[in-house]
Every structure is written in structure tokens, then in C-alpha cells.
Symmetry: none
Subunit: 401 residues, 2 copies
């Protein structure tokens, strides 16, 4: 569901104007106790500060005051959806991100390779964090699983993580996880809510064959299943906004959410250099670009203040290259805050700058939490940002006579 | 109804973190025409200003831009409820605040002792503002009323005010007031909407006996009834937020609303000294404390700018004592604004400071209307403040993967 019920009434205008969203994951932070300065305030960000000075700034709140979002709802909000009403299961997101053939009616789930003992008790929920390469090899083995009447597709994610998609009749996604979350006990039996019984039958048949196929493997001799999810049914960006959109993200899950809202997605490395190159290559073919920087969030999650500072400076160094493309609107923002001193996502609203011909240069002169608080946008819902960007690109008609 | 329908999905975390809400009634004001400074800007508030400097500030709006709340909705919003959807009748609030045995199915109403002449016409709607002591004496007399099939409980409030609770079968609360609002006319007959006819029968039987019991009294020889209300059915704070909460308020109505949302309440004097002592005594037993300061609102309502300034300075002097308890989150706010120059509640959003380890110290450096407008919260609904406080206490899990 698109956040603003009005959006669909606002005829998206035919336009060539291009919008570039640079989404720096976990962007917002909090002051380091020794210096009183946040990651953004510590980093040297001449280009981002110039953007803040020349543009319109503010803070965006993914879920409203006080609520800390996961990556899924935070991104859906950035793309204009009501994040409370448009949840996507993590399994569904992963499947989308892996580029699996995943469509309406299918059910996806996440797989974790794990180690079980001779009694079937889970000894290691991550199978010693096997390599991504090993994970791929094992996933190829699992492609041999055959469940009558059902198409089974398995694909590797990073390390011990993988995803599976079941295609067949009568599959629901209201199924509990088999991951027991602790070791020393067997995987939990899958339990279906009414309407999802068939999925449990299929998944159990799948698991039985997996156990046989992996019996001789070590340490990854079994899988745990979690996050069952149907293909998400979300309004598509081209229909709602009239945007031909490209999602550029190294990490599968973010390609997943981009794909779910109707963006084309392209596989790309995790680094800004690769992402920028892809952007430049495809710049003529799209109206809207979502470019995702993952590492800042990981640094925040790891509590690595200095690394986050360094990564922000790296982001800053790419701003001239983005501006060289002359997008009509450049938005620099984040999906949520990840203060290094909390080592987790947080509820704090996210610094945001909008640059473009029709953006009022306001009092904000530093691209930071406190700098953007002085901007003219105030604190707005993240789900308002896309419409605001369309406006700045003059891609929205007026409402009413 | 809790304001955010999502709150219930956000597992409130098990936590020992303590949250203290200091609610300064009618906190916000407007500049004095002679000085251009509001009550808060005039008062010397070193402790509150320090709190503002070190914490996260903003303005909270009880009902949204432009709407002036009564005490009931303003407080429900502070406790996280949608104030538009969770109205409590004033009679119900009073009954709760008086500590009357008031439960589901009961109907309460407010009583005002009044003076009627020999023809039954109201001469004084407040019976010459009889003393609280006299009111108590009269209420004891009224306990002799007996209505078949109905349990009647009467309790005194301040001065000429009292409350009554009827317990019996088939009682609704859709009953008009008998208070004619003017003198020289008899009390209005009570009128029931369909479903509340039995309440009018009961109330009329009650009023007939009251007239006899008080016939020899002067000036309080009758009562007026108003604000009929059933026991409010509101989600309870422990269920929704996982908070064991204590309400500390001298004035009955505020204990009433605290009790209605599931707080324990404790009878206490009107002064901050008594309230602080109660807080300190019970500090180990609860997670959440609502401490209410009434006199600031009364001063504002009376148009007494200087008294409000003095009372704010008194509030300020207690801040160190609150901080000495080391609450994880201290919130200083108000239920609504009561500018002395308006001598009434107003719609102006209310200065708010959140202090705690995870509160970003923002640009706000003065605890005032304009000072807090420079904070990083912006203007948020009052009903968001509780979730925001839970977040700062790290008592909320994230939403979505």
C-alpha cells in the first residue's frame, strides 16, 4: 500500500527529469562520548556539507517517533509505502534479492545451513559459518530435491545463508520457523496456520531429502527454515509514480525490496566504485535510481565508530561523481539510524538533503543529525520523501483545481 | 485505543529501565505583552535549561494543530492513546480519581452541591463554594440514599464537588446533565438516550432522596448532576507497554486517568514536596512514574502570569531531586498549554525535553516554547511521546526484519 492515499490521485507527469536516491544504510548516529560529536559530525564531508548548504534539509522518520525499523519497513517507507501496512517477510525479501524466479503464489523461506548431531540435535545454527563458496556448492546439491507437484528452487546467499522458493498449488506462508534459536535441541517441527498446511507438507518433504543429501557433509549436514513468506503484492513504482526505476545494491536483500516495488535490479559489487559504474552505464535508461550503501550500517552495528566515519568520508568522495551526471534531484538520506555507540538500528530520525533546482537552500549548513534538524523540512515521515522528490523533479501535477 | 495500532505488535522488551514523566499541567505559555517573554522564558530555570541543553527537545501537540484539549484527552495522549478515540466522561474520571469502587458496568456522575430556593430554582450553582470539609460531611449524609437493586456510592471531591457511582443492571451513560448552567431556573430534567433509561430512573430516585436529606441544610440544599460516564475500557499500560506504572497526582481527576490506563495510584498532597517523597518511597517498585503538577495550570487559568512563573521556578528546583534517582529516561512535559494571557487552555504545542543516555543533545538550549522549537524532535503528537520514551529506555524491539 502506498503511504499517501493521495499519490494515486496525483497524476504523475510525463517528464524526463531524473531522481537519484543515495541511501546510506544506518546513516544517522549519536555523539561519541569522548568528543560529543556523531559519526557524521566527526567525518570530513566537504561535498555532503555543500549539498546540505545548497539544498533543502530535514530529518526523516521511518516509522514515527520512537519506533526502530528493520531494513524491510525502512526501505518500503523510503519508496513511499506505508511501512506499517506493507510488511514483507524476510524470506520473501531474500528470495527476491537472490534473483530467484519468484512470483505471485510462490512461497519462499530462508535456509540456514547448520550442524546436527547423530540424534538430530542442532549443534551449530550456522554450520561454523561456512564460506559463501561452500554454501553455493551445497545449494547446487539441494537442487536435486524433488517434491511431486512442486517446483523447488534453492539459491545461496552469503556464508551459511540460503533461500528456497516453492511453486505449486495451495501454498500459504503462515508457517512457523524450524530454527530453534538455541543449540542442543532438534529443529522445531513446522506448524501451519489454517490455509498453509500444504506448505508444511512440502517443506517437510524438502527437509527429509535435504537430510539425506547432506548426510555425509560436515559441518553443514542440515538446514533450518525460517521466515516463510509469499511473494509480496505491492503497487509498482512505474504504475504509481510513472517512474522507470533501477535499484543498485550489492546486498541481495536490498535488491529484493527494490524488485518488489517494481524496480529493475542489477547485480553489482558491494563497493561504491562498482555501484557508481553501474549507475553511469544505465543512467540514460531510467528516471529513478536507488543506490544503496550497506557498509555504513554494518560498521554501526559492529559498534565501529571510526570505521563508520571513514566509510562516510568515502561516500562523500563519490558525491561529485553523482553530481556530474546532473540529476534533476539528488537525495542523500538513509533508511534508518544505526548509532555506533548503540551498535544497533535505532529510532532516531535520519539526516536528509534534497538538492535540485527547486530546493530551497535553508539554514542547514552541515550534513549531520543536528545540522539537518536546522533545515526547513522539519521531521517528516520517510514515506513522504519520494513524493517530495517527485515534486522537486516537477514530476507531480497539482491536486485540485 | 492506543494511538499507534502497531504498538501491540512491537514486543515491549523485558527491561529494568525506569521512565519518569514529569507532567507540568498547562506548561506552555505565551509572551507577556510588556516583556515579550513567556512564563517559561521569564522564569529562572537553570535545571530545566540544563536538561534541555543535554537532552532531546521538541514540542508535543495533544490533538494536532489548532485543537485545544481538556485535561482528559490531553492526558490520554500523553499515555499513548489516541485522544480523539479514547474519550472518558468527566464523571468517570472523577469517580476513578476519588478512589471510589468503580468497575465495568457502573455509571458515575459528577455532583455539584448547589442552593435552590423554595420553588426549587437554582440560586447558586456552587452553594457558596462550601468548604471541602463541609462537602465531606454532606456526602456522608448522602450515603443514606437507598435505591432498590442499585448500589450507590457518594464521595466528596474539592469544595462543592462530589461524585456518585451507581452499580446495578442495565445502566447506560447517555444521560443529559441536570445542571442548567444558569441560575433562577430549576435543574433540568435528566434525559436518556435509548439504552440509558434505567440510569435516569435511578438518578431521579437518588435526587428525590437527596432533596429530602439536604432539606434542612444551607446553603447546600441540593445537588446538580452532570458528566454521566461508564467505566472507561482502555488498554492497560502493563499489557500494552509492559510497564508497571505509578501515578502520583494530588488532584483526583489525574489519579483517575492514571488508574483508567492501568497505573497504580497513590493519594498524595498537592505539593511537589509530597509528590517527590512518594516518588522516592516507591521508586524501587515501578518502571514508569507519572508525576503531575497541577498548580501551574490553575495559575494560567487564573491569568496569573507572575504566579505561574514562580511555580515554574519551584518545579525547576525539584529537578535535581528527580535526577538523583537516576531514571533511565526523564521526560519533562505538559498535558497542554495554558497561557496566562489567555487565562485558558490553548492549542499551542507543549515544550518537552527527554533526558537519557540515548537522547541526542540538540540545538535547544532553553526549556521554553521557542527553545524547544529549536530541538530535533520537531512538533510531534503527544501520543507519540510514550513510545519515544520507551525507545529511549530501550524498552522496544525493532519492527520488521
Amino acid at each position: 500500500m502506498i503511504s499517501s492515499e493521495y499519490t494515486k490521485n496525483l497524476c504523475a507527469r510525463d517528464s524526463d527529469a531524473k531522481i537519484l536516491f543515495l541511501v546510506v544504510d544506518g546513516l544517522g548516529g549519536l555523539p561519541h562520548p569522548d568528543t560529543g560529536k556523531s559519526e557524521l559530525e566527526t567525518a570530513k564531508l566537504p561535498n555532503l556539507d555543500a549539498l546540505a548548504k545548497g539544498g533543502t534539509c530535514g530529518l526523516i522518520s521511518p516509522l514515527g517517533a520512537g519506533f526502530t525499523p528493520g531494513s524491510g519497513p525502512a526501505h518500503l517507507a523510503l519508496f513511499g509505502y506505508d511501512p506499517w501496512k506493507s510488511e514483507i517477510g524476510r524470506g520473501a525479501l531474500s528470495a527476491l534479492g537472490l534473483g530467484l524466479d519468484f512470483a505471485r503464489g510462490d512461497v519462499a523461506a530462508r535456509l540456514n545451513f547448520c550442524t546436527v548431531d547423530s540424534e538430530g540435535r542442532v549443534q551449530d545454527r550456522r554450520a561454523g559459518r561456512i564460506s559463501t563458496e561452500k554454501g553455493r556448492e551445497l545449494c547446487e546439491m539441494l537442487q536435486r530435491v524433488e517434491v511431486p507437484g512442486v517446483e523447488v528452487t534453492v539459491a545461496a546467499e552469503m556464508e551459511y545463508r540460503a533461500g528456497v522458493v516453492f511453486r505449486g498449488e495451495g501454498l500459504g506462508d503462515q508457517v512457523s520457523d524450524s530454527d530453534p534459536q538455541v543449540t542442543g535441541v532438534p529443529p522445531k517441527p513446522l506448524v501451519a496456520a489454517p490455509g498453509s498446511e500444504r506448505t508444511v507438507e512440502v517443506a517437510n518433504a524438502f527437509l527429509a531429502q535435504v537430510a539425506e543429501l547432506l548426510a555425509a557433509e560436515s559441518p553443514a549436514n542440515m538446514v533450518l527454515m525460517r521466515g516463510f513468506g509469499c511473494y509480496p503484492e505491492l503497487a509498482q513504482m512505474d504504475e504509481v509514480y510513472g517512474l522507470k526505476a533501477l535499484g543498485i545494491a550489492g546486498y541481495p536483500m536490498y535488491r529484493g525490496v527494490a524488485g518488489a516495488v517494481g524496480m529493475d535490479v542489477v547485480e553489482v559489487g558491494w563497493d561504491l566504485e562498482s555501484e557508481c559504474t553501474v549507475l553511469e552505464e544505465h543512467y540514460g535508461d531510467y528516471d529513478f535510481f536507488y543506490m544503496h550503501v550497506k557498509k555504513t550500517d554494518s560498521a554501526g552495528e559492529d559498534g565501529n565508530f571510526d570505521l563508520k566515519v571513514k566509510l562516510l568520508e568515502e561516500v562523500d568522495s563519490y558525491i561529485p561523481r553523482l553530481l556530474a551526471l546532473k540529476p534533476d534531484v539528488l537525495v542523500v538520506t538513509g533508511d534508518h539510524s544505526t548509532p555506533s555507540i548503540m551498535a544497533s538500528h535505532s529510532w532516531h530520525p535520519v539526516p536528509t538533503a534534497i538538492a535540485g533546482q527547486w530546493a530551497l537552500a535553508d539554514q542547514a549548513s552541515q550534513f549531520s543529525e543536528r545540522g539537518c534538524a536546522a533545515g526547513s523540512l522539519g521531521v517528516i515521515p520517510s514515506s513522504s520523501l519520494l513524493a517530495l522528490s517527485l515534486a522537486h523533479a516537477r514530476r507531480l501535477d497539482k491536486f485540485g483545481a
